[in-house]
Symmetry: C2
Subunit: 206 residues, 2 copies
DNA sequence: TATAAATCTCGACTGCATTCGACTTTCTAC
DNA sequence: GTAGAAAGTCGAATGCAGTCGAGATTTATA
């Protein structure tokens, strides 16, 4: 019985996350109070704060749970033989659909992942890394196939596609595009990025 | 004296914004309470809510004030003769410096502009449009000079650059890059976008 | 000018995140 | 085993955003 304490802590933390997964999904983040969360986890209100610094941090744990699952799934779903664009579309559209399934969740998630507060910077590191690995593998393979320039750091390649993805998600949240327009807009942007925004060399010499 | 009421309302609203500009700049958004704001504006707490729906909306008014000034300035600063990349750098770096002058302000601003809540969607419309006009004029001129492809909707061209800008800002907020790296990273991304991510036609045919 | 309707103003009130510090349980060292 | 230290638990207290409704002021109608 030496590990009683640590074991118990792990269990309590799990209980909080479990309650969060349940309550956030059911009532949304804002509508779920810490007190409810505590009650559902069978502990006192104050105790939550020995496990998480604030409500947002509980949300991060919730996200990890959600996203690890999704992104593992996406890693399998992508066809390594398809074109970069098709692979990118599979991954980013899959992510989009999941992230925006609950629009409130998606908004908060994007806000926090892209522009985290100082104290939260490291909260997404783990999930982020898995996501990055997935992206990097896609773009590295594309470089090997000579589908993408080899003189660009794969991190930058991933950045380009990710940036365009963010833009599309933002456009949807801002009401500039409708849900049905997301896919075609994203594909068009990806194609343009691959081809380049400058007139092609052939045309330029004319 | 027919317009007393409306005149007074305008004056009160101005007083609130003025108090906000002062207090937000001095103590930051989070640390400034509505009550303080009301006191500084010489009105009751509840009255604030006849002028603004919530605290965030006061922040929007504050933003408009800040940004209108900056973006007008930027519009003048950009040299219409320079390359698209140079012009883009001037505009986006100028924006970056201003938006992140107060890091807390910038974070909140980016979060709200990119992923607004349903009720806030229209709050930035006015400022947004001016910003967009500025960007569009840059990219349209570049198309005319044949520096950028004419078969891409200028809106999409602006989107590409804006997307990369967002990525860089996000990278800075996430601590993935330092302040000094912002400019070179942005420039590199812009160059890559213009040239395209695919190997050049010339190389491809080899 | 008198009265009713509309609008505005206020601060007490509500609800919730977060803090605090008194109390309890577990660990450590003898 | 036991005393004292360390860590964990709790809900009452705090602070703040946002609501409410009673009263004040302005406008519209006559």
């Amino acid at each position: 019985m030496t590990i009683t304490r640590e074991e118990k802590k792990r269990k309590t933390k799990r209980a909080i996350i479990k309650a969060a997964i349940h309550l956030f999904a059911e009532k949304g983040f804002d509508k779920t109070s810490i007190e409810e969360l505590a009650r559902a986890a069978g502990i006192g209100k104050g105790t939550i704060y020995t496990y998480f610094q604030n409500k947002a941090e509980i949300f991060y744990a919730f996200c990890e749970d959600q996203l690890e699952f999704v992104r593992n799934e996406l890693a399998e779903k992508t066809d390594p033989g398809a074109s970069v664009i098709d692979q990118s579309m599979t991954v980013f559209m899959g992510d989009f659909i999941h992230v925006t399934r609950n629009s409130e969740f998606g908004r908060f998630f994007m806000q926090q992942v892209l522009f985290p507060e100082e104290r939260d910077k490291n909260n997404f590191a783990e999930v982020d890394n898995k996501w990055l690995e997935l992206l990097l593998s896609i773009y590295q393979r594309a470089q090997e196939r000579n589908e993408l320039r080899k003189d660009i750091d794969p991190l930058y390649l991933a950045g380009h596609f990710y940036a365009l993805y963010i833009l599309v998600v933002s456009s949807w949240y801002s009401g500039r595009i409708e849900r049905e327009e997301v896919e075609p807009a994203m594909r068009l942007l990806f194609e343009q990025a691959v081809e380049g925004l400058a007139p092609s060399a052939a045309l330029q010499t004319v």
